[in-house]
Amino acid sequence: MPNKQLAMVIDSSRCIDCKACMAACITANAVPVGCNRNWVKDAEPDLAKGAFRGHFQPGGCMHCDNPTCVAACPTGATFKSPEDGAVVIDRGLCIGCGNCIPACPYGARFRNPAIRKADKCDYCAARREQGLSPACVDTCPTKARVFGDLSDPDSEAARLLAENKGRLVRLVAAATDTKPNMYYLGVTEPRNWPVEPAPPTAMAAMTGLVDPLVKTAVALSGLGVLAMLGRQLFTKPTPPHDGHGHAPGDQTPGSGDADRPDNRS
């Protein structure tokens, strides 16, 4: 478990869908056109049926405790920070394989076309280094987004969490609880949008098929070598420079086989 756990506590009932969080994020993180690190979802009422009350739900990477994106990354470029519990990407290690993108139930990841690598919310790591809060949190007009360290009971996020025990909502896919570190207070809509993580076939093939195959092959080969080595160690050595290609087995005492120096191997 990390020393700290950064998290976002969101009161989506405060959200007015002004998209300031998205604009702030784009600017702070140079998010290219067509991509977003965060979002506001709109639970549109069915006006045809007379409903009119809508609900807006801000979101972004949920920095899960059980991140399926991390599991999908072959190089460990995506990892859960041991310092603060954020799920981050080491761009220098990311090889742009794209495996992590469909592995996220929240669609929080995208391939940044400018760098051709995976990208997503990092809680504005660069801003935090300079003592600022994440851009979306800082700019939010209605302060719907609250950010902080849950392990610090004095942080606003931890306080909100403690105050709202029993009315916290974590959005998870039906069959996969990634244990997100994004908490919604009370009622939030929409709720059924997270999808089951679906790492691409390449990754599934790698972990499910290729990896066992490789490991079995190496293991068998290793065993074979051990067997040969064993045979060699427990038989009398062949003179090193006699040039005779004696198979080790040939010299195994008690093997019952005739010594055939002219055996052409």
Partner: protein, 240 residues
């Protein structure tokens, strides 16, 4: 005893160059795989290698750099010794099912379980004559060449992923990771046997030595590579 020239200098050089690259690429490459579901060398290995190289990105850069060196070396070899390369490829991919496959089966049995099971199965423990390469060597060479092609191709795709690969072709990068891993894994499995046979097995010691000297004793050649020896004309030796 007559010594027969088996390898010229570029062959020896490329072999050891290849070996060194393989070792270095393997050490760095395995360090680049960091996923609890994979971690072929244990969970601690990637962290250890990464810190040794000054971090993951540095390790990746070194790995890519080594890969480029490796490819460049091979290209250089082919350029310098094109005929040798062609000979090598021709040799390793010419497989006679009756002689070579039988050799392989018998040899594997003899090396591990001994001759008895062979006899029980109604086979003589005699090994069929082999050419410049025996089938074991051929098999490993084939794996190395084919695996090498896959490794290079997928490596290039992965290295270029953040430079030229468009969004629509990201799947290629994902599959490259998988195939790179597969190819390395399989060649590595063969490599274990190759290293054992060449460096540890007493039987192949002259072959091992020839990878430094370029020559093998005639009787060794006769025993191990009779068809090659028979095909040689004159004293000049060599395989060309």
């Amino acid at each position: 005893m007559r010594r027969i020239k088996r390898h010229d200098r570029s062959d020896i050089l490329i072999h050891w160059f290849n070996a060194a690259c393989w070792l270095a690429l393997l050490v760095t490459g395995v360090g680049l795989v960091a996923n609890p579901q994979l971690n072929p060398a244990g969970d601690a290995y990637p962290g250890a290698v990464r810190s040794l190289f000054g971090g993951g990105p540095a390790l990746l850069a070194v790995h890519i750099g080594l890969g480029i060196v490796w490819m460049a070396g091979i290209v250089l070899y082919v350029a310098v010794n094109f005929r040798g390369a062609v000979f090598f490829l021709k040799e390793i991919f010419s497989v006679s099912p009756a002689r070579d496959v039988m050799w392989m089966v018998k040899k594997m049995a003899l090396m591990t379980v001994g001759a008895k099971p062979l006899v029980k199965a109604g086979l003589t423990p005699d090994l069929p004559d082999q050419g410049y390469y025996n089938m074991g060597q051929k098999a490993f060479a084939q794996a190395s060449v084919l695996g090498g092609v896959v490794i290079v191709a997928t490596g290039v795709v992965m290295s270029l992923s953040d430079m030229v690969i468009p969004a629509s072709m990201v799947w290629m990068v994902g599959w490259s990771v998988t195939l790179h891993y597969l190819a390395v894994g399989l060649v590595f499995a063969g490599l274990l046997v190759h290293v054992y046979m060449a460096a540890i097995s007493r039987d192949e010691r002259p072959g091992f030595v020839s990878m430094f000297t370029g020559h093998v004793p005639e009787d060794y050649a006769r025993h191990h590579h009779k068809l090659w020896l028979d095909g040689l004309t004159g004293d000049s030796g060599g395989h060309k």
